[in-house]
Amino acid sequence: MKLNRRKFLKLSGAGLLGVGTLTKTAQALAQEEMLKGPYDKDEWIPSCCNMCGGQTGILCQVVGGRLFRIKPNPHNPIGFSNISDDFFANAAKEGAVMCPKGNAGIMALYDADRLKQPLRRTNSKKGIGVDPRWKAISWEEAYTEIVDRLKKLRDGGEAHKLLWFSEDHSFTHPQGDFCKLFGTPNYSMHSNLCDTGRKASFKILMGDERPLIDALNSKYMLIFGWNPLSATKFSHLPRIITRGRERGAKLVIVDPHFSYTASRADEWVPIRPATDGALALALAHVILRDNLQDQPFIDEWTVGFDQFKEYVKDKTPQWAEVITTVPAERIERLAKEFATTKPALVDVWSGTHHTNGVYAGWAIGALAAITGNIEKPGTLVLPNAKGGKHIEVEPDAVAAKTLKEPRLDGGKDKWPYFHKSGVYMEIINRLVDGKGPYQPKMAMIVFQNLLMSVAGTKNAEKALKNLEFVVVVDTMLSETAEFADIVVPGTTYLERYDLNTHWVTWPAVGLRQPVVKPLFGQPAEYEFVSELGRRLGLKEANGNDVFWVGRTSGERIEDKKRWYEEWLSRELKEGEPKITLEELKALPGATWVSPNGTKYHKHLDPVPGDKLKDALIEGNLAFSKKKDGTKDKPMGMLKADGTAIHGFFTPSGKLELYAAKHVGKKDAAGHDLAPLPVYEPREWQPSQEYPLFLINWKEASQTHSRTQNNAFLAELKATDGLRINAKTAVKFGIQDKDWVWVESPYGKIKMRAELTEGIHPEVVGTQHGWGHWAMGKIAKGRGAHTGFLAKTIACPLSGQSLNKEICVRVSRA
């Protein structure tokens, strides 16, 4: 550490600088003078981040056409609070926040390894580590070849053989619309790698896919398999959770890994992976055994309580201790604390990426139901996430024909809780084995790095090799781009538009807008898609040239950026904000925030009489009608006096502890759907040969597998090794920093062992996203990718990818 002067001078090559300038005061004065510069006089352009899917509000300072700084946007609630009272009263005073990734956005924009022009592969051979032998081509060449391929498919009646993969929160509407007008049912996006399992759990329980936690007002937070203080997709989470604790809440984290959230919690409950459902059932057992439930709430607002109570009767803490490794007396205590502290919240996110995951999430949600901790301040709250409105397009006759083909993944006929994002794992498996309803020929892959995100990397490789033509749109030459026939440069979030419906509890829409021009003159993705649509001559059923015609002016617009501005304007105008794009831009922070803030007890809200008049009634439930008069969405529950209240949007209108609709139905694997939130051991269990659970998680410093080439972020945390409990390591003869082989039946990776006391002894794990072999100079060669060890399997209820269900053996390399 200590360097002598000579060494310093040698190192710096700056030995003569400053020597002899010893007039300290003069220098200090000169320096003072410099401090009066114009640094806050330049314009700060409001926008939204997209370093992850959280869409935090940002302010960007651009000087001379270059991005100079980014700072938090206090007009946008996502970076402050998910509760409106808190936001309206305190955001201006306290200021919003931004995560490290948001602060590192400048390095994504100016990444030296960014793809700058379209490339065509000249090596017909494809595979991991195979050089595509890229040849730079013009945009015209790229468009011509892509359109030619697309046209052949469509003209040959094979439009459905186009697969499209995209992000789930960026320009999805033009892509989805393109697919519809082109004629493929196979538009899929990221969500099924993320939280479609959780969505299914809560859909069963409460008919809503995404309840949010009101941490700020809570007195007890019981969180399973979630790392919200570090994996901070919603950037307000650290603030509201630490505030909740400050105001007296206890934070309990159930996780096999001692995450940063667990580290900041009052209590860490280490648990054997995939047994969270068993723990939840045992907690319910204690609550009901000791009569600690909220019986009036249960009587009024749940169905299936008796069946549920009967089911948990033998799910004793002792039973759960054997399964979960959580001591029975601790389960007893946690159950009593949770049930007797009000208000309490319970939640779970991607800890349920396992074969019992949907039921486990449902069991966890049931804890909220039996204690009445739903839709009250400080509990799980159903958000009102109304934002821009997607203006649906009508496909023409050609497209309509191939749209009737089934999705390659089987869609909602196969998966009881199918989500519109599709089932990547099923798509990959069918591409590999050719046993789908047809064999797709072409894929458009927009900002999806399947090689790094799909469970079972070797399968992803085979799947992509089985496609005739692959187009990748990305800012980086990702691992997946290496399988492309043509790759075209995309834009970063600082170079394009989007509308972001924010994940707070009341409606808010933030604008993302280009703060700098695309660095290489490339089109933004919506412009790219529009150009394809124009060249293909895709039209709506009524002949409308949707990719040419501005959606507010109705005029044919040559300039595709202007065309998209009208697209967004119409979505805003017909959506919740009811303003134009220009009006949104002019709002403080370019964020529209509904003045009708957070609402609790929404299940008690009356359904307006005029809506009810046109409703379709089934039993005591009211539904809205589709254009053709058939049942559309749930609207409310009828009361004896003929009026109706909102209720929950389940088949019964209540919280379902027993799902009657499951009886007689099967999941995608052919198993009977259970009508109760059953605990069943996950499919892949440790064996003598592969004795350890392998899990992975997210931390604040990276997003999925897409930010590892970011220079700032790589400096925060250079890589991750294999975290292994120190005692377990001894058992396998492994010392800290040893290179180890991590092997499963599907593959073998080399990792650096990191001994810790902060992981369950039966578990090894690592931060997801490392192990790139492409993407860029920084990302390459750091850490290892656990996808090689995973089985390509989806949750049979939801289609959620199960990237965390892996067993391995570990040995010194």
């Binding site: 710096s12 640094y39 630490t242 925060l716």
Partner: protein, 272 residues
């Protein structure tokens, strides 16, 4: 089974105590040298406490800090610091045994000490504490890269700029000056200050207006995800941008300063 929780005092001792910090930062040798700092140096440092208009400093609420490192990244973004030059890292350690394990951390900016031991060790007088607001700076017009100040800081808050660059330097990013010292040193160029100099946190001095007031908080405080870092003026207690009062916080909350025994009197208080 209840987990063992440390008492407040134990947390103070272990989380911020000298031994634990030394182990973490790997600067044990340095600190033992400082422990024997001659009394006259400490006295000299006292002279800097006069004629103050402001006493800028921070409170860092360790109950709110979640170790996200947004402060570290925000500092890099704001000051355009090169690889290896990190003004505000988060120091972390793990203690205990499974399942009674704890992980502790704290962000570590420069503390802009009242009695900074980094100043008088400089052979050319390049490092100084501003009388008017207490900010400790390196004058890059004078710094010769002697490096004596680096081990003199018992907190490891000074870093040598070896002249490394991010790959982005070859892009448009290379044409963006650091706003540090109001871009006085212009674009980053080989063999030009501050390359070859000691560098450190300036409390984002360039965010001050002509009167010495801040118009926005330091980048680390502004971005902080838990709103744990409050930056402001201890003479009035005024916190910049977070609507609280620093003096009220240190009056009502338990706090500690790192290595109090060295007499450096840091202007950064860790709230416990």
């Amino acid at each position: 089974m209840a987990q063992k929780r440390l008492t407040l005092q134990e947390t103070v001792d272990q989380e911020l105590g000298r031994r634990s910090f030394l182990k973490l930062a790997g600067i044990g040798v340095v600190a033992s040298a400082i422990a024997a700092l001659p009394a006259e140096i400490v006295e000299a440092a006292e002279n800097f406490t006069t004629k103050k208009k402001f006493r800028y400093g921070m409170t860092i609420d360790l109950k709110r800090c979640v170790n996200c490192e947004a402060c570290t990244a925000a500092c890099k973004l704001e000051n355009k610091t090169p690889p290896g030059v990190t003004y505000n890292p988060v120091i972390e350690e793990e203690v205990g045994e499974f399942p009674d394990v704890q992980r502790r951390w704290f962000p570590r900016p420069c503390f802009h000490c009242e009695k900074p031991p980094c100043i008088d060790v400089c052979p050319v007088g390049a490092t100084y504490k501003r009388e008017e607001d207490g900010i400790v700076l390196v004058d890059h017009d004078k710094c010769i890269g002697a490096g004596d100040c680096i081990p003199a800081c018992p907190y490891g808050a000074r870093i040598f700029d070896e002249g490394k660059n991010y790959p982005a330097q070859e892009t448009e990013y290379g044409n963006i000056p650091s706003p540090e010292f109001h871009s006085k040193y212009g674009l980053r160029e080989k063999a030009k200050a501050p390359i070859g100099n000691a560098r450190k946190c300036t409390f984002c001095l360039h965010l001050q207006d002509a009167s010495g007031q801040y118009t926005r908080p330091t980048a680390c405080a502004e971005t902080c995800m838990g709103k744990a870092i409050h930056f402001g003026d201890f003479l009035t207690g005024r916190c910049i941008g977070h609507g609280c009062n620093l003096n009220e916080l240190i009056t009502h909350r338990k706090w500690t300063r790192l290595k109090e025994e060295l007499g450096t009197e840091p202007n950064v208080y860790y709230l416990l």
